[in-house]
């Protein structure tokens, strides 16, 4: 088999030189990729997966070097090739689809020309033939209206379309190996699903091999034939996809799978188990097995470096105790978190916040030239009439894709964006639109947690100063009292009291987000708005932040609005889920009812687009056509009618749909189609397979 492999990596060690010392970002990695197959490369940040891809492409930066081992592409040793020889391979036989198409395409050259250039150079086509070929390629990657795209510049089309262009570019020379570096991570789920379909189709048609790098275990499950799991620079497990998900034989893989909520799971029946501690820095690797300090199964033998054991047909694992794990004698799961049971009490609760027909419209600034031309002001309706209650002590999840207005709604509630119409009432206080008119009573009750932990804390203020301030200002405590409260706050987010003296630069991403949580909880609010608080964190950190967030919320009976683009996370954490599209709510439902029909057609499309973390699971193939309309356009009737898979006809275009209610579950949705008709047509959108991995507590 090794002979046939298109790509064969053997005992590869890649290091970066830093101050005269090599730090090995990838160590002893062996991997073989047969033609026509897809290998998923999974790992958290710092696991060395990008280093590996760069080494394969021979794109390593100046200070990087292959220190040991071989990379064979089609039988040739890549490490021995000169730059000139590589030039014949780059693009022609091996191509890279980068994570951010925006930054890898030239902004000042039309897209068609950028692809044509490659065709002229590598395939020797003349100008005219190259142009026709470009259009064919754009057609293959299913870009609607290829001619217009070919004439467009990168800023004129959407991210999803750009990613298609960069795929077309990579395919243009019919390479035998395609390296994809997180190609869908910056895309919405509905676009991501369409891209994954496209990749699958392309491999089947062309027998291309793919190395697919991602941190998303769902995407890997859906696209790859085999999966290689990397941790701290080492390949810890490598197995056929189905085997890996059925029974992971390395505690790290197990840990990763237990960190993420799966679609349909709820905190009431499943607990997330974060992996303890954090990934070791490259200059301070543990002795023996690299995962040992975080492993629940570590014993004395783990102080010896484990070889890559062959555990079955094509199944390799770097764990001394794989046989015991395989036999089910020991439990490779991380210990369950200690936090108390956090499920909210059932029954109705009075609303802590109620929103009535909230609108946030922005008027776009006109430039001087527009002003002289007499161009009218364009109005962007970021939020167009949202009515929603957040009950006391409960979590309302708000799901939507980018541009759906979910962040704007959050900002309107806390007063960072001024609403243009509608009422927001907090307990019994009517909130004015702008922050300046709000009293400290109102501010105290309402806090927000932001998405990016890197930006959330002032780099020049110590953690203590950051936390003391709201306590002293909004709660009116003395300085001594505030210091004590800060220590308590730090303890409640599981950080030791000496963190008060640290600067944000000395904290990891997860620790920063913990401090940001503590700051939001500091004034004892009644309501917390969490705007994608975990989406920029690694999965193992994500789980601990989600658990912590819910623990704090439950202890203090705080109502929360939890905003995310991830339906599985929202479904896991929330008591009520609201789905937002183009600034309007499409569906508001109790969390346990969201995964069962009747669905609003948009929710249905979302549910069938989320990549299932189960290669054997079944899922409906419902894909949305086209892009989300720009919020500055006026969409008449139902806002979703331009992309709706259950489009009825004129009624959807002309008439605003009614809110319908499903009496049995209390689910409400915004659609012309009646409950009975939806029930008759819709099935459950996804189903997990019955293997033992998918049952857990």
């Amino acid at each position: 088999m090794a002979q046939d492999a298109i790509l064969e990596i053997e005992d590869l060690t890649v290091g970066y030189q830093q101050g005269g010392v090599f730090r090995d970002a990838a160590r002893h990695v062996s991997l073989a990729l047969p033609p026509g197959q897809t290998c998923g490369l999974v790992g958290e940040s710092g696991s060395g997966k990008t280093t590996l891809a760069l080494a394969v492409m021979q794109y390593l930066p100046q200070e990087g070097r292959v220190r040991q081992g071989h990379i064979r592409f089609d039988g040739r040793d890549m490490t021995a090739l000169s730059r000139d020889e590589m030039r014949a391979i780059w693009g022609a036989q091996m191509a890279l689809v980068p994570q951010e198409p925006q930054s890898s395409l030239n902004p000042s050259i039309p897209l068609g020309e950028q692809v044509a250039e490659i065709l002229r150079r590598h395939n020797g086509l003349d100008g005219k033939k190259a142009k026709t070929r470009v259009l064919e390629l754009f057609e293959t990657v299913r870009l609607g209206d290829p001619e217009r795209v070919a004439r467009s510049y990168p800023h004129q089309i959407s991210g999803g379309m750009l990613q298609r262009v960069s795929v077309a570019m990579a395919l243009s020379t019919e390479p035998r190996l395609l390296l994809l570096d997180e190609p869908t991570s910056s895309l919405d789920v509905t676009t991501q699903a369409a891209m994954l379909d496209l990749f699958r189709e392309l491999i089947k048609a062309r027998d291309t091999s793919m190395l697919y790098i991602t941190h998303n275990l769902g995407v890997v499950a859906q696209i790859s034939d085999r999966v290689a799991v990397m941790y701290a620079g080492e390949l810890v497990e490598n197995a056929p996809t189905v085997d890996l998900y059925r029974q992971p034989l390395h505690p790290y893989t197990r840990g990763l799978l237990d960190c993420i909520p799966k679609l349909g799971e709820n905190k009431r029946n499943v607990q997330l188990r974060p992996i303890r501690d954090r990934i070791p820095p490259l200059d301070d690797l543990p002795e023996g097995c690299v995962f040992r300090p975080r492993c629940p199964l570590a014993i004395d033998v783990c102080y010896e470096y484990p070889p890559l054991y062959a555990a079955g047909e094509g199944h390799h694992t770097r764990c001394h105790r794989w046989e015991e794990i395989a036999a089910g004698e020991i439990d490779a799961r991380q210990p369950a978190p200690e936090s108390a049971h956090t499920a909210s009490p059932s029954g109705k609760a009075p609303p802590v916040l109620s929103m009535e027909d909230v609108h946030v419209h922005f008027t776009e600034e006109r430039s001087l030239i527009d002003l002289l031309r007499g161009k009218k002001k364009t109005e962007v309706k970021a939020v167009a009439g949202v009515t929603l209650n957040i009950p006391r002590g409960r979590t309302v999840g708000l799901v939507g894709e980018s541009g759906s207005g979910k962040t704007t709604l959050a900002r309107a509630i806390v007063g960072l964006a001024e609403r243009t119409a509608g009422e927001i009432v907090l307990r019994n206080l009517a909130l004015p639109p702008g922050l300046r008119k709000r009293t400290s009573d109102m501010l105290c009750c309402l806090q927000i947690i932001f998405q990016d932990p890197e930006e959330a804390l002032n780099p020049y203020l110590s953690v203590g100063e950051t936390l003391r301030r709201p306590v002293m200002r909004l709660r009116g405590e003395s300085r001594e009292e505030a210091e004590r409260i800060v220590a308590n706050l730090l303890e409640s987010v599981h950080l030791s009291a000496d963190y008060a003296a640290r600067l944000p630069g000395q904290l990891s991403g997860g620790e920063k987000q913990r401090v940001a949580l503590a700051r939001a909880f500091a004034p004892n609010p009644d309501l917390i708005i969490a705007d994608e608080p975990v989406s920029s964190l690694d999965v193992s950190v994500q789980a601990s932040i989600l658990n912590l967030f819910d623990e704090l919320r439950a202890q203090r009976e705080i109502g929360t609005l939890f905003i995310s683009h991830d339906l599985a996370v929202v479904g896991y954490l929330a008591d009520v889920v609201a789905v937002i599209y183009l600034g309007q709510l499409m569906e508001v439902t109790p969390a346990d009812a969201i995964f069962d029909p009747p669905h609003h057609p948009y929710t249905e499309a979302l549910l069938s687009s989320v990549p299932l973390i189960d290669p054997e699971g079944e899922q409906m193939q419902l894909r949305l056509e086209g892009d989300v309309p720009s919020p500055s356009e006026d969409v008449s009737g139902c806002p979703f009618h331009t992309r709706c898979p259950r489009f009825l006809g004129d009624i959807c275009v002309e008439e605003v749909p009614p809110w319908r209610e499903d009496q049995a579950t209390g689910k409400r949705y915004f659609c012309h189609i009646s409950r009975e008709d939806l029930l008759a047509e819709q099935k459950r959108a996804f189903r997990f397979s019955e293997s033992r991995n998918h049952t857990r507590i």
Binding site: S440, D452, Y460, R473, L474
Partner: protein
Amino acid sequence: MDKARDTLLEWGDWIWSGLRQLYACPASALGTTIFLLFLLLALFGPLIAPYEANQQIVEDARQPPSPKHWFGTDHLGRDVFSRVVLGARDVLSLAGLGTLAAVAAGTIIGLISGYQGGWLDEVIMRFFDSLLALPALLLALLLLGSLGGSRNSVLAVIVIVYAPIVARVVRSVVLSVKTKSFVEAARVQGEAFWYILLREIFPSTLPALAVEASLRFSYAIFLVASLGFLGIGVQPPSPDWGLMVKEGRANVTQTPWALYFPAGAIALVVIGVNLISDSLKQILQVPSQLERR
């Protein structure tokens, strides 16, 4: 009392570590040495200079450099070395005070303009644009023409010429910082305008500000000298380097040293400060970036 001592010690540490960093690279070490040398001259000039600034030694007029007169004497018999040494205080204090005032004014305006935005920002920035459209020296000439040449009016000129430039630099940093979550978090917690401006945003402008201030300082030295040379700044007989260059130029055929030494002093200080400014860029980084290295 203890607290005051602690603060003093802290400042000492801070200056010490700053100096250590400046001496880490040869270019900034050279710049720092030059600057410290001139600072010593400015502080202790009267103790170092062998003669009075305007003391005429008629019998020694037009002497070339010699052990008695290190830099020679000018056409009036004044000791050039003494005048260069004593002139340091004037130049450095004028340029220093002017830069401080310009940086303070520019920072406050830049902070407010950038954070407030809207029409206020628009008005301030367009006004500054029109000021910056004129070459600095021309603007200075115009202003001095109406203010009359004196120490105070030179100070005022430095502020008016350089405050807009500082304001722009500060404003650009404010624009990038004010949308960050930590500023928004402070707003949501009801922090007052000035608190946000000074405590949350201002520290982020410090690295850019320090670099800009040192650069402005070297240009201010230059400006003071140029104004002296043109005869509209500090008036004779004060030992201003620019003035000395002007007088030296008139007698360049007989006493070229009276031109070269003050001109060299100007060049040396400006180069020294510029070298420091260059390395400040590398030394002053956000703490988080420092930590990661």
